[in-house]
Symmetry: C5
Subunit: 338 residues, 5 copies
């Protein structure tokens, strides 16, 4: 049960979150920070050890360093990151809200499909299974985890969400497009039959079941849309170029130059670029936020746990339409009465 | 009754709000400000009292101070805070809007479930109780206050929102997932029975009751989603690192250096870092806004008063479906007639 | 009729709006500007008249002034104001959209509640009155103007929107919570009776009337939510502290220092801080925008005219369900035919 | 047919849009630019021709110029414009989406109001006319163009959207509030009659027609809300003051001062303030965006063409409910079959 | 099948996207970069080769270069781009969501239109074809690709989405406005007939089919609105002027001036304006994002593949209402049972 609740503290508050490791900025960034420090150190060593023998080259290097420093001073990556991450964040939450939950459909099945006998039970289970199957088929397209769990239709059959006959029918369907909508069509056909049988007793009930199925399918379509139409590559590239070129410039521009040369802002030498590393963690960490939010259906710590959703939905669906269908709870006076 | 209305004044306006204490920035921040000042003072004392004996160390300290000052000058924490707080603010209001209110469901029960006799009354009360129970079960997951009030199912039984038999049934249910949806399933089953009894007279009425129940359940699901999927840790960490590293740099960089040394911008010594403290209150206060909004189901002054919501909803539900059910108000001509 | 339409001009455009007084930034700010100038002038006079006699104090004052100036130069109040006002602006419009209009409910009453006889007329008027009464009860909670107009239930009776019997019933209701939902419950009960009488002829009609009533009640709930859950105090305080501390720093930091002392940026003396006053109008004006939008149910020039809404809705409701109910407009061929 | 499609080019892209005149920034701004240049030139001439004779005044002028320049350097009008224009942009699109289209209503009339005989035809036309009339009445309030086209009810009668009898009825209606909702009430009354006649055969049909009429009326209400509640004047004034005071400061602060005086940043004289004019076009152009979007129901090139909407909707409505009502299209096998 | 899924990498992440070419910033920008470099180089050569012979002109050029440099230093194009791109991005996604999908309509046809005989099949196919035809007619207005594929109605007939008789009827229709709504009217007329035939058995079914058709038509209207009302030209021009004038100023202002002259910030000569090119890629790339998002119905790599949508929708529609209509899937116990 994937509950990750945020604790609130009187003192420090968010500061305590700095000591988390799972899904943390450190776990995501330590490799990049090491690479950055390595490049910085190599350049630093060359400047301090090799270049003093070539005063001309050294002077040119210093000019390039100053030029790079100026660049990093004016480059507005905080804006572009701010706007970009906001856009990606909105999209991330829209994707979460697009995940279809079968609760409404199964409640309607349970309310309107009468019959506690075996056939009624089978019909309700079949309908509930169809909507879950549709959801799993679309999850397989979006989510690596679900794809790994159900790489082929056969795995779905083994997991009990599809029968062999259904597998054959869906496989033979002459279309190259994604087939996640097919079980919804079966659902519609079966509901029509059930209506004729009379187990769904009224037209408004029929209408409401089909409406909820359509709402469910809409969510699947929406999820498919998010998978298909991504944030335009050029936007992501522009932001990435901005961030990485900034730190490329930093590897040169944030070098401590020989204080004896009296360049402005270079009156001392601290060897370790402490605040530049903090800036790196900050800016590249901000970009990592976007990376993480961009595809929340992956396998990272912070990604949506789609396999849990699959299991929860199957369990709740079958409980609601079958096991709990006939539970008679005696209607008793509650203590508040009178 | 948790009304906190904003007064409007001709003169000063918001300025008057600066003198509030409850839920104020002062109440939230005074500990952090004291810690900041303590660190600042210790460093200041070391610089003024100890370091003069070690001129070399002192000079190095001064260089680090200037380096730190430059860092604080370019670091764009106002942007990242602005974007982050906006995102968290939107989420905060979405969470408020996700809180389920039973008003629609109880109005429908009252409109469509006929019968002023004892059984009719019991049925209406049971249905009203189920939706409130679902809401309380989801509140227990999100809200510390409600969890404290109802730590176990037994407390719910004692509070009269659940009967003992219901407790047994829900406890035995073979699932490890949150069970807030279970009373909604009971609701559906009971409605189906009532329809058969004929107390719900028409199919459209049945449909509309189930639809509203589903809308109610959707809100619960949404609340659960907000509890489950939080703002990615890495975003919060990036913002926190930015803010706290800024003020870490300030403890050194905003020291008043010996004016006799003629460092740029260090031509005088005021001892107390007045404006730096204001900046601290401003930036860390802004971060506190995010902390406060992030989990509005806690026990802070500004958090949603979920226990009041529980009480209000129970009271209004029972009033609407029971006490007021049979109130006959004579239909009289109103004064505006003709 | 509160129409305030924006004129468009070929030349100047918004510039012409600068000459409005009603609801203008001048009307809202002139007091604050005077206070700011007063403080500034007093400090200026002290510096120019008193301090020359105390050269030491004067020099310290000048250092403080420079320190303050530096603070105002780096302080990012434009960001925090920009983000804050945007958040408050969105909320302001959401509040307007949350105001319930009875048009949908009365159209449904008029369409589905048959009978041109006296009883039909009374029933329709009663239902229309109930929804308006609910709206007025919630307005009384939010809006000062409506509260002034109807300080007690008795005033509502005198205004003809409530009968004495209704007043007694609502007063006796054993709840301490706001009672704006009570007339909606009466509405539901009355509709149930009318359905039994047969004046509402069909189940879909019944369902649609209840649905619209619920939508209406939802708006009332939403309005109540806006009244109850305000923007967290700490956010408002942070923004206010930022703005006012900025101008506190300005009263000192924007003083013209003795040009003979050759402080950087202090090479001349203009006496009047012209552009600082413009900055004041701009930043504090921006904060005033937030103040104004925060509680739009007050009595300012720009606030929503809730009393007009009350009158308009009562008038339109009664016209639609009563006076115009039986208007027979002959169906004639229109000129476009053929 | 007001189609303005954006062309996409491989090279240059938006750059080509710079050569448009209609609705362009040049067309909107050339007057303002000329005025700005005029003021600038007058001041420049005074400085260059007159002031050399008064060295004291000249020196003071130079100090004021430097002071003004510093002001323009720190003033953050790009932020306030960015936030303001975003808010106005959102509102602009919401207004477009609030424009009511009768398509849904007329499709429902066409689907559910039976009878190909003359009376059926007249009834359908009357209903379709009523919704269009409501829309035109609300357009008359918002839009200058529609107001000019239909200055009085008589013009509506002449245009065939209202009969003389209807004009008399609506004129006599005892209310001072806008009457755009009146034809919707007629619609409701007429639908009730038609239901009794039996031409609308079912209750769900009746319900759906009234629902769509209500949705249509809601849009009208929304449009009325946008017309009534404008962006608070104080926000617009603050933005306008910021922009215009910036350029007022520019007319003095961006003067080329005598290079021989060696003021910082004044080492040369280019006579024409080229980049200042570009800044003017940019900032005032950005403000013009807001002006243009603020009231999109005017008569500018970019405004919504409400008269086209009036004509299109009338035409489509009558075509759908009348001319095309009885078109029998033979149902034939399509080529894709089998 | 246009799936473009984003890969996630442990190391580097977005950095890997920098090596994509399709839809990349390089592919979009290389022409502009070359032009910029060409202009820069020509000016550079003139300055280095020709101007030394004219010391006066050279000095003036240097002054202009410094003036231009100052301009580029203060010009806030990052803000205006950030705000503008955010606005355009939102609009881009709204356009995607406005694309009508026929899934809901065809599911309703399949559920409620009974009859497995030939006529039932023809009727279902005709209705499914009408909604697809409406969609294609609106796509032809928005999308270049679809317009190219179906330049005339005759092409639609040949593609089998329209019969010749339908073509004649739609051509003769006396209106100059877009006719995409016409097949929706046919749909309504045909549904009315089918209801009379009794193949649509219930009034709620009839209502729900018409409602879904109206929802479908609404999406078409929305798409038409996006095509008709574009982002005001003046906003786009302002942003473009800002960006291009910035780089015009750069071609002069970022020239390396003779270091022997000792201009501030011009103490060295690197010949190639490396970071200026990065800035160019960044800012103009950001503007390209807006260009790309502005009209997503074009033929660029990142544009929506409308032809795939046309094919997918036709295929799914016919499969759902015809081929799969009579598929009987045996209802069997699933493995999870008991």
């Amino acid at each position: 049960m994937p509950i990750a609740r945020l604790q609130k503290f009187k003192l420090g508050g968010f500061a305590r979150l700095l000591f988390c490791w799972k899904a943390s900025v450190y776990k995501l960034l330590w490799r990049e920070v090491l690479i950055f420090l390595l490049i910085y150190t190599v350049i630093s060593l060359v400047y301090r050890v090799v270049l003093p023998n070539y005063p001309n080259v050294r002077e040119n290097f210093e000019l390039v360093a100053i030029y790079s420093y100026d660049y990093t001073a004016v480059f507005p990556i905080s804006f572009v990151l701010g706007f970009y991450v906001t856009v990606v964040f909105d999209r991330w939450w829209m994707q979460f809200k697009a995940i279809p939950w079968p609760d409404r459909v199964v409640n309607n099945i349970s309310a309107h499909l009468n019959g506690a006998d075996e056939r009624g039970r089978l019909l309700r289970r079949a309908l509930a299974r169809y909507v879950n199957l549709s959801a799993i088929l679309i999850y397989r397209l979006c989510s690596k985890r679900v794809k790994k769990r159900f790489p082929t239709f056969q795995h779905l059959v083994e997991a009990g969400v599809m029968t062999s006959k259904e597998k054959d029918i869906i496989k033979k369907l002459p279309t190259d497009n994604p087939k996640y909508w097919v079980p919804c069509t079966w659902f519609v056909n079966l509901v029509r039959e059930i209506r004729k049988e009379g187990r769904i007793e009224s037209d408004p009930a029929m209408k409401t079941i089909i409406d909820e199925l359509n709402n469910f399918l809409n969510k699947c379509d929406e999820l498919y849309g998010f998978d298909w139409i991504i944030v335009p590559l050029v936007y992501t590239q522009v932001v990435t170029i901005a961030t990485y070129s900034y730190f490329l410039a930093c590897t040169v521009g944030r070098q401590y130059l020989d204080p004896s040369k009296n360049y402005t802002g270079h009156s001392f030498d601290l060897f370790f670029p402490g605040f530049t590393v903090l800036e790196f963690v900050f800016y590249v960490g901000w970009l990592k936020v976007a990376e993480n939010l961009m595809n929340p259906f992956g396998e990272d710590d912070d990604d949506f746990d789609m396999n849990w959703i699959v299991d929860r939905n199957l369990e709740v669906s079958f409980l609601a339409v079958d096991e709990m269908y006939d539970t008679k709870i005696p209607v008793e006076p509650d203590p508040h009465i009178d």
